[in-house]
């Protein structure tokens, strides 16, 4: 029961342009708002000064303050409101300013969004998209630096997506908004300034549940998301000079998870490294390694470069930098795996 209107208003021919990650998010929002009058954006200060991360510049002027709506500070309450909107014909996109605030709304995220259609015996669909901005590098301290990307991957009924490049930002966010199921979509505050090619228009919409190969390679499969996907590509580029060929796979969707692409790649390279801006426990990295081990995918001993299990992110810039897997750390780990 998607209410899209492609038929009536075909889009301009697809074009590839160089956009920042921030511009790509904004374009995805603008194009979905244009195409479907049922789509709206709500959240704290989303309609003022372009939003806190300046991803919404010009949207209130273009679509009005009803569709681009500032909310009071009450995450659990306004995700509940979005749910009520979604089951009565709208397609709300909710912005949660920092991913660290998702737990403030966890009752709605864990108990309502994924279960609402099910409990009703399939009487409704719940097309809610929750955007949240996560990750470290901002010197925002312990309570404003989590990616939170794996907090809700164990909830059937929900879908979980991420974007590590401008193309993913555009293509995955549009796919999330067009999907009839609730989707948590994670952005990374450390990537907004990153530039990259983006295919605008329907051709730039990336398929739900599919990973993407950012850089093909033959020696090792490096699986990552968000900022770590960006850093993995840099590491792979650096290693290429030494003749090490690393394939970088951006997972993009954590639920559903694209085991076909991952398995095909690992079977080809024979090695797997997951790079995570999170602890390994309870994350998508552990989930993937466990699944591949249970399926008996032929590979060397798998490896994970994650955040320390016994530490938290500090405000102190030096400490924040030190706790994150860096390009050099990734390159070094890849080298040790390939040369083992």
């Amino acid at each position: 029961m998607s209410t899209h209107l492609e038929a009536e208003r075909p889009e301009a021919a697809a074009v590839v342009t160089e956009l920042t990650y921030r511009e790509a998010i904004r374009a995805a929002l603008e194009h979905e708002l244009e195409e479907d009058p049922a789509v709206l954006l709500m959240g704290e200060d989303v309609a003022t000064a372009g939003g806190v991360f300046k991803t919404n510049e010009g949207l209130p002027e273009k679509f009005g303050r009803e569709r681009i709506r500032n909310t009071p500070i009450c995450e659990n309450g306004f995700i509940g409101v979005a749910l009520g909107m979604a089951v009565t014909g709208l397609r709300p996109v909710v912005e949660i300013m920092f991913s660290d605030f998702l737990p403030t709304a966890a009752d709605a995220i864990v108990n309502e969004l994924p279960k609402f259609r099910f409990m009703s015996g399939g009487q409704c669909v719940v097309p809610v998209t929750v955007r949240s901005i996560g990750g470290a590098t901002g010197r925002f301290g312990t309570q404003h630096s989590a990616t939170g990307e794996s907090w809700y991957i164990g909830l059937p009924g929900l879908k979980v997506a991420t974007a590590g490049t401008p193309a993913s930002a555009y293509g995955v966010l549009r796919a999330a908004i067009r999907d009839d199921d609730p989707v948590l979509f994670y952005e990374h505050k450390g990537l907004y300034g990153r530039k990259g090619p983006v295919q605008l228009g329907h051709d730039g919409i990336l398929p739900v549940g599919r990973a993407g190969i950012l850089r093909p390679g033959s020696d090792v499969t490096v699986l990552a998301t968000l900022l770590m996907a960006d850093r993995a590509v840099s590491a792979a580029e650096a290693l290429a000079e030494d003749g090490i060929s690393a394939e970088v796979v951006e997972l993009r969707w954590l639920r559903p998870l694209d085991y076909d692409t991952v398995t095909e790649s690992v079977a080809r390279t024979g090695r797997l490294l997951v790079v995570e801006e999170q602890v390994h426990a309870g994350g998508w990295g552990a989930t993937v390694i466990s699944e591949l081990s249970m399926r008996g995918v032929p590979m060397e001993r798998p490896s994970a470069l994650s955040m320390p299990d016994d530490l938290l992110v500090s405000y102190s810039p030096a400490l924040e930098d030190a706790i994150l897997p860096g390009v050099d750390d990734i390159a070094a780990r890849i080298r040790s795996l390939v040369e083992a």
Partner: protein, 320 residues
Amino acid sequence: MTATGTDRIDWLRTMIEIRLFEDKVQELFMQGRIQGTTHLCQGQEAVCVGAVGALEDRDYLTITYRGHGHALARGMSMEAAFGELMGLTSGCCHGVGGSMHLTDFSRNLIGAFAIIGPSYSVGLGAAISAKLRGTDSVAMAFCGDGATNIGTFHEALNMASVWKAPVVFVIENNLYGEYSPLRETTPLDDLAERAKAHAMPGVVVDGQDVDAVHAAAAAAIARARAGEGPTLLEMKTYRYRGHSRTDPAKYRAEGELERWKQRDPIDLLGAKLAAEGALSAEEQRRLRGRIQAEVDAAAERAAAAPVLTLEETKAYVYAP
């Protein structure tokens, strides 16, 4: 709209239906034909019938785990309700939801909540949606007295007020959370006062008098439909049974239950209708007999249905 004589006879009929439906539920529990838990609303029938009865078909409704009465008042068939409590395909949610989740989108009963809080925020969302989509539908959302202590209650009232949303919030103040009396967890008696924190009108209503409930609800609905914003209605009422099936409610003061039963909502309306000559005591007895037969028949019809397979429930997890 003001109530006509036939409306009020219909209210009596529905209140009796809810009362007898829940007696049957209790009986089926004892027989093990319904399992798990259930939250009866006996004693509170006037709130369900008077408030829900004031809505139009195009209006939205969100209720709670204590929702048998509201669902029936909204027109759900007893068979669909019984079937849901029995976990069978005859249920409104094909047995997947159970007693706490009586939901019926065909009647704009868009949600029954087992976890406290979202009944107000989700109902509010439907109200804003109706407004944004250019309809004149309103939404009515229910919660209990204890639920007014959870943050989401206030978050919803605040948003509704600042956005002048077409929503009517109803508190069913039956004086208890699970086992805790209101004043042990809440510092005031009149919960309608809580509307003041959100610059919203709050109204205390006699929840045992269906005429009063209906009049208050109709006024709040008219206000919402006219674009004048939300209202908080506090219904003073009482639950005859324990919180849930396993609760004997020993914590209640001596005689409290008996006092409330003297203002039984069904008896109150029945007496009025008899006095007005609209429906004699004898006619009411016969009516009750007919309803009892319908209740028993509905339970049997519902029980005849099969159970879904796990495989079949997969279709309910993600959209097609």
